[in-house]
């Protein structure tokens, strides 16, 4: 297990979230540090996506807080790479080639107003190769299969080379081999490049050997609502639910 002195990227403290007045999350406490490969699991409707959107600031917690680090381990601005759930349904008519879309992953790396240089292009090429989509780079994104769309979304995030990956079921529709390959890449990124990873997934058997932290949303006992939560905030900080 990783030492506790790693830089903290995400801290969720006693978070609760309600849609209108319907509570869907309560008592959520956990943290994700640089070098962590954390998976977030729970049944359909457990509010995993909702939790990610709270962390990203797309939704505001009803109670408690989410703290995202401002800086990365090097002291630069923290770059967050997010893959939303079901990118396969994305903007099918969007007129863009695979290469254009994946290159756009480089823009947040200080390239909003600058031309991409050789290093950027190298990154883009490597990320497309890592998901086996380099040969398809001149295809229109609307013409790809569901699994291929998922792969180029992954390539886009790899091209960005973020400090913190926030991934919502990124492997939906991908075959077993490409999934394994992807998990290996993530493990490498967290272990050797100190990246923080928080990934929603349903296949936690498969991923057991790669991840080093497991956050599970479970149904709250005795609650009439579909509330899911971590066991309890206090308990959690004593026994970090890592399984290595």
């Amino acid at each position: 297990m990783k030492a506790g002195n790693r830089m903290q990227y995400i801290k969720v403290d006693d978070l609760a979230f309600h849609y209108e007045d319907e509570p869907v999350l309560e008592n959520i406490c956990f943290e994700v540090n640089a070098g962590d490969f954390a998976i977030l699991t729970g049944e359909n409707g457990a509010a995993k996506s909702t939790l990610l959107r709270n962390i990203l600031g797309l939704l505001k917690p009803t109670k408690g807080s989410v703290t995202l680090s401002k800086k990365n381990t090097e002291g630069d601005k923290l770059v967050v790479g997010y893959i939303p759930q079901q990118v396969a349904s994305f903007n099918a008519g969007f007129p863009s080639t695979v290469l254009e879309l994946v290159s756009s992953g480089r823009y947040p790396r200080g390239k909003w107003f600058k031309k991409l240089d050789k290093e950027d292009k190298e990154h883009v090429k490597k990320s497309l190769e890592s998901v086996g989509m380099w040969a398809m780079r001149h295809k229109k994104i609307g013409e790809l299969s569901g699994g291929q769309k998922q792969r180029i979304s992954i390539a886009r995030v790899f091209a960005m080379d973020p400090d913190l990956f926030i991934l919502d079921e990124p492997t939906t529709g991908m075959d077993v081999d490409s999934r394994e390959e992807f998990y290996k890449l993530l493990q490498h990124a967290s272990e050797y490049h100190d990246k923080g990873i928080l990934m929603v997934t349903h296949d936690h058997e498969e991923i057991r050997h790669y991840a080093n932290k497991h956050i599970e949303l479970i149904r709250k006992e005795g609650s009439p609502w579909r509330c899911f939560s971590m066991d309890s905030c206090k308990e959690r900080s004593k026994h970090p639910s890592s399984f290595h």
Partner: protein, 261 residues
């Protein structure tokens, strides 16, 4: 026909509109805001009527009104995320109704010019209008070349754009305002009823012809030039309203492509 001053101005205006339309049109289509353009053109009819009634320069009153409504639309888009058609429908009919009522209140000779604003007129394009259109075109081209990457990212997906650190709210409002100003300036030339068609059709056609984002814009400019100039000449020789003639040519191109591709 080029000997007439008004025809020269009409051609100048057409070329400028051909440069603007694909850029705005593409973003309007991808942001699913084609209807917003329609709404703004109806509202701009009310803006013009208000200007005529108050006796101010209708162009400026119109720009002001349309910009305000464009801001309101962005707010409504956010609040009624899933029901945005309703607010659009209300504003669209509201704009038209206001225009008609204001026209009714104004019993000078203004009904003639309302006719012209509804259907557009190439005879009445003034030198001032061409200048304003030129300035707008330059502004839009400069903005596009500076903000192409942020706009691409925003248009692809607002939430990932937000997480990538873009000020998505501000960008949306600025885009709507720019659209509003463009509609206010183009409306007297092509007519309120067909402004949005003129803005959107070139991009709608070129999306089918190009694989890449930039390609859509360049091909769109070509399509727009063909449509605008042919439409203008048709309108001149046949005595038909310009907006309608141009729109029919675009639709003909669209159908040809649909058949052959």
């Amino acid at each position: 026909m080029f000997l007439y001053g008004f025809m020269q101005r009409a051609f100048q205006a057409s070329i400028l509109i051909s440069l603007i339309a694909p850029m705005l049109g593409l973003f309007l289509i991808l942001r699913r805001q084609s209807l917003m353009a329609d709404t703004l053109s109806h509202v701009s009819l009310a803006g013009v009527s208000l200007g005529l009634l108050l006796g101010y320069d209708p162009t400026w009153v119109n720009i002001l009104v349309v910009v305000i409504v464009a801001g309101i639309l962005e707010y409504l888009r956010k609040v009624y995320r899933t029901y945005s058609e309703i607010s659009i429908a209300i504003l669209m009919s509201g704009g038209m109704a206001t225009a008609l009522v204001l026209m009714g209140l104004n019993d000078s000779g203004a009904t003639v010019s309302i006719q012209q604003f509804l259907f557009g007129s190439i005879v009445t394009i003034s030198v001032q209008q061409v200048w304003m259109l030129l300035i707008l075109t330059v502004v839009i081209i400069v903005l596009y070349s500076i903000f192409r990457k942020p706009m691409y990212t925003l248009t692809f997906d607002e939430e990932t754009a937000y997480t990538a650190g873009l000020p998505i709210q501000f960008m949306s409002v600025m885009f709507n305002i720019l659209t509003g100003v463009t509609i206010a300036l183009i409306m007297p030339i092509v007519g309120a009823l067909l402004v949005s068609a003129i803005l959107i059709l070139p991009a709608a056609i070129s999306i089918r012809l190009s694989k890449s984002f930039n390609g859509v814009i360049f091909i769109g400019i070509g399509v727009a030039l063909i449509g605008m100039i042919m439409g203008l000449m048709g309108s001149y020789y046949l005595g038909t309203p310009p907006g309608a003639t141009i729109t029919l040519i675009y639709i003909a191109i669209f159908s040809l492509i649909a058949v052959f591709k």
